[in-house]
Symmetry: C2
Subunit: 235 residues, 2 copies
């Protein structure tokens, strides 16, 4: 589940490699939001031509991790607070569905895999580094993949990745202590087939994650701020 079997693993080798590398770099905050991604710089770095980089960037844009401006190039996305709330809304909806499905039909080895993952999360517990961020996200991705619904899994993957990006932008702290514990609780509830409780925990969990990002208070989009100052200038 880690990261590779992205449905296009064995094809488009180079494009895929660059795509995965860039995505990882973004999620782990090596590439920070707003940072430019010039095609030939990236290309030289990886020893491939712009063509490859370009294709990778197109994909990343589709995933919402990168935005491109015409004739300006690609930038690591900087989700607005509004966008962040929308993403969290969708994520909650999707993950609740995941829980619902898993409580109905849980694959045999599911709990083992989930618990194994939580253990690996615990080994990096305390360190608030990029690795723990990635692992925390991958727990949810694993959960989605266990449903067997690949479409659902793909969407959950996308939203989770974007949430990682959001947290790197807005979160005050990444203290994942409680998170790991809640992951365990979710496993418990699912094993018991208690959908209601599992959804409750998940809601609380996502709420906590979203809460750690200060999404609501400030008005965020430049235009929403400036719109209060009159529009007369723009002819």
């Amino acid at each position: 589940m880690t990261s590779e079997p992205t449905m296009s693993d064995s094809k488009n080798t180079l494009t895929n490699a660059v795509h995965d590398l860039l995505r990882r770099a973004i999620i782990e905050q090596a590439l920070k939001p707003g940072m430019r991604l010039p095609e030939d710089t990236v290309g030289e770095q990886f020893g491939v031509s712009r063509t490859i980089v370009r294709h990778a960037l197109v994909r990343l844009e589709n995933e919402g991790l990168v935005i491109t401006r015409r004739n300006r190039g690609a930038f690591v996305a900087e989700p607005s607070r509004e966008e962040a709330q929308q993403i969290f809304e969708v994520r909650r909806c999707l993950e609740n569905e995941v829980i619902r499905i898993l409580c109905e039909r849980l694959p045999s080895n599911a709990c083992d895999r989930l618990e194994a993952h939580v253990r690996s999360e615990e080994t990096v517990k305390g360190k608030d580094g990029p690795v723990s961020i990635r692992l925390a996200g991958e727990f949810h991705i694993l959960l989605a993949e266990l449903t067997g619904n690949e479409v659902l899994a793909r969407y959950v993957t996308e939203v989770v990745l974007r949430c990682s990006l959001i947290m790197s932008l807005y979160a005050r702290t990444h203290s994942s202590d409680c998170a790991v514990d809640e992951h365990s609780q979710i496993i418990e509830a699912i094993r018991a087939g208690d959908a209601a409780r599992a959804i409750g925990i998940m809601d609380h969990h996502l709420g906590a994650v979203a809460g750690r990002a200060e999404l609501s208070p400030r008005a965020d989009s430049i235009q929403s701020i400036l719109s209060r100052y009159g529009k007369e200038l723009a002819q």
Copy 2:
């Protein structure tokens, strides 16, 4: 809402144009599932180079409307019955969320726009042509866009389009008579703020749509069919 303002309308003009054109052609069944899409054939047809076509195809692949095989090229997707069920599952989940949101916060002009759309659906009622298929889908897309949640709207758009493709593969009939009527009922329920009823209708509606496609009965993958005919030939 019709089709253009796809968040990247004014940029990448050529790529976008080809992308939209191909998508439309697929949804309206001008390009049938399984049909090949050679890059230079398409390119010549539209008077652009392979570069453009390829970018468009990458996008379409991300949307699940085409698949590409390494060194073989791109084909219009032929969703398996299993995949189709997964898509319907996700669609139901997402559209229920749409309803829930709309019952809470309904934009002022929403009902007008929805009813206008239903009226335009009624004008082509009876004719089971590609246009009515597209319009039926666009009702749901409009619904999603009215939530104001762009992420949600994007996912709904994707699933709805894929459902159109699925229907063109598996549906016995496209009789959209009942569908249009149910669209009206959904508007009614939303206007009344009755989320439970609206969701009920939507569930029934999607169930009917999914039911019109004979998804469950036959095993569909080639290998699962042929496996019953003995495997002795293949060494």
